[in-house]
């Protein structure tokens, strides 16, 4: 097996395992569109990072957080419907990112690779980010698991019971920004949310407990990545979209299973 494929597999597996628990929270808390907005805004981070010449992963985390904070402050005022606001922010930040990068004419980057990912171009340094960042994300989730679950079942009930809901929400957003930053190179900003929610939605049908759902969605994510990479390697299809397509096929298959 060549190094390229090995790196790609390791990176893909890392992202699949990371995306599983967060994907479950996205599904539970009905934040699919929120995730989309965060990941779209990652492109703004990429262009800022390129222009200011700072580490792109860090720039993405920062810009995602800023967008999240703007979102939360707008939502509290409740002037605009939440989904409208998300739509506005998602596409505006994506477009601002693309426009900004076009002004900086000393930069020649292939924006396509950020939009759709470039799994087969993964190198060792990406693996450090994925597994290092991944460790932080998983450890935080394990530490805050119970309150996070309570909050997802019913936020107000949790708040009355003394769980710091606002802070937890921020933590969850931060973790999502982190995952988006490390997963961006793998599947691209346009497809990251699908990598989170498709395996989780598939697992939802099979699982009986929240933990089972996370475990199943990690396994389904691994399967999806394997399938996508194999297709990409032998059929020469684009890697990121192939991973999403194979996850989607798994999702379709489980929909055929009769629910007990």
């Amino acid at each position: 097996m060549s190094d390229i494929l090995l790196y790609a597999l390791l990176a893909g597996y890392g992202v699949a395992i990371l995306a599983a628990p967060l994907g479950c929270f996205v599904v539970w808390r009905k934040m699919a569109y929120f995730g989309d907005t965060l990941s779209h805004s990652a492109l703004l981070g990429v262009s800022l990072g390129l222009m200011l010449d700072v580490n792109i992963n860090l720039a993405v985390i920062c810009s995602s957080l800023i967008v999240a904070l703007i979102l939360v402050s707008f939502q509290e005022k409740q002037r605009i419907a939440s989904d409208t606001l998300l739509g506005i922010l998602a596409h505006s930040s994506l477009s601002i990112g693309l426009v900004a990068v076009s002004f900086a004419d000393n930069i020649r980057v292939d924006m396509m690779s950020y939009l759709f990912g470039d799994l087969l171009a993964t190198g060792p340094s990406d693996l450090y980010w994925i597994y290092g960042g991944g460790g932080v994300v998983l450890a935080t989730l394990a530490w805050l698991w119970k309150p996070l679950l309570s909050m997802s079942v019913h936020a107000e009930l949790a708040q009355v019971e003394g769980i710091p809901v606002k802070r937890l929400r921020l933590v969850l957003t931060l973790l999502m920004a982190l995952v988006i930053a490390v997963a961006m190179k793998i599947v691209g900003v346009l497809l990251i949310t699908s990598l989170m929610i498709i395996p989780a939605a598939t697992a939802q049908r099979l699982a009986k407990t929240p933990e089972q759902m996370v475990l199943f969605s990690a396994l389904l994510g691994l399967l999806g990545v394997s399938g996508g990479l194999i297709a990409s390697w032998y059929l020469d299809t684009p890697a990121g979209p192939s991973v999403v397509v194979s996850s989607f096929l798994l999702f379709l298959m489980t929909q055929l299973i009769k629910k007990r």
Partner: protein, 257 residues
């Protein structure tokens, strides 16, 4: 000792130029059952949310007794059907042990749903599970927002009776206080100490019998609910929460047929 558990004074609430609450005062003392009634849009739920600390009022003071434990039963748990969760797991999220969970379910009469998925419960069962969850926190005060929504008339009566019983069961020296929202005075009459009738402001308050005669209450509700015929009949048997007929003794735990 006689410090109120929750005291709200001069609460004003404004939502985008619409005054919802205009200078409301509310006090809940230990062991007292206080019922908020009022027409739709009167600001009952908003007031409860302010009392719970879920929402900050535009102006006014909220004072809560130090170390107050609140058991909250939301209007309706918008159950997240995307999370696979059994009743047991849902109640264990509070950090309580299985025995405590079983006790709480026993007190609300739904031990049989322990292993059922939360999504499969009927309206009445769900309300009782929520009540059990509120009890698990050993609260000083139970806050119930329309606790009988989506429950049939017989079930509603049973639930209110249960709430009164819970209050009267003195576990500690002190009884648990109750603050609840209802839109039907008649149903809660028997099980309440103080009625606060609100319509953006406090119209009248006091003992249920007094409030029923109060001109402000009659103006608000037109008194027509007196003529509203409620079908009542004498029951020579009791139903369990899952519908089966129970043994003549008032036994709420198990009477499987």
């Amino acid at each position: 000792m006689n410090q109120p558990l929750i005291e709200l004074s001069d609460i004003w609430m404004k939502f985008q130029n619409r005054e919802v609450l205009t200078g409301v005062n509310l006090q809940v003392n230990p062991g007292e059952i206080v019922t908020l009634i009022g027409p739709n849009g009167a600001g009952k739920t908003t007031l409860v949310r302010i009392a719970l600390g879920l929402q900050a009022p535009s102006s006014g003071q909220r004072t809560v007794k130090k170390g107050l434990r609140i058991g909250y039963m939301p209007q309706k748990l918008h159950i997240n059907d995307s999370m696979p969760l059994t009743v047991n797991r849902f109640l264990r999220l509070t950090g309580c042990r299985l025995t405590a969970v079983n006790n709480a379910l026993d007190r609300t009469g739904v031990t049989h749903v322990l292993q059922s998925p939360l999504q499969s419960l009927s309206g009445g069962e769900l309300q009782r599970v929520l009540l059990a969850r509120a009890l698990l926190h050993k609260p000083h005060i139970l806050v119930l927002d329309e606790p009988v929504q989506g429950v049939d008339i017989t079930g509603q009566k049973a639930l209110y009776q249960l709430i009164t019983d819970l209050r009267n069961e003195s576990r500690d020296q002190e009884n648990c206080a109750v603050l609840m929202v209802s839109h039907d005075l008649h149903l809660v009459m028997a099980s309440t100490d103080k009625v606060v009738c609100i319509n953006q402001h406090v119209c009248c308050s006091g003992h249920p019998q007094q409030v029923k005669q109060h001109p402000a209450y009659l103006r608000l509700f037109g008194g027509e609910s007196d003529e509203l015929a409620i079908y009542t009949h004498h029951h020579d048997h009791h139903h369990g929460i899952d519908g089966h007929v129970l043994d003549p003794q008032k036994d709420c735990s198990k009477g499987s047929q």
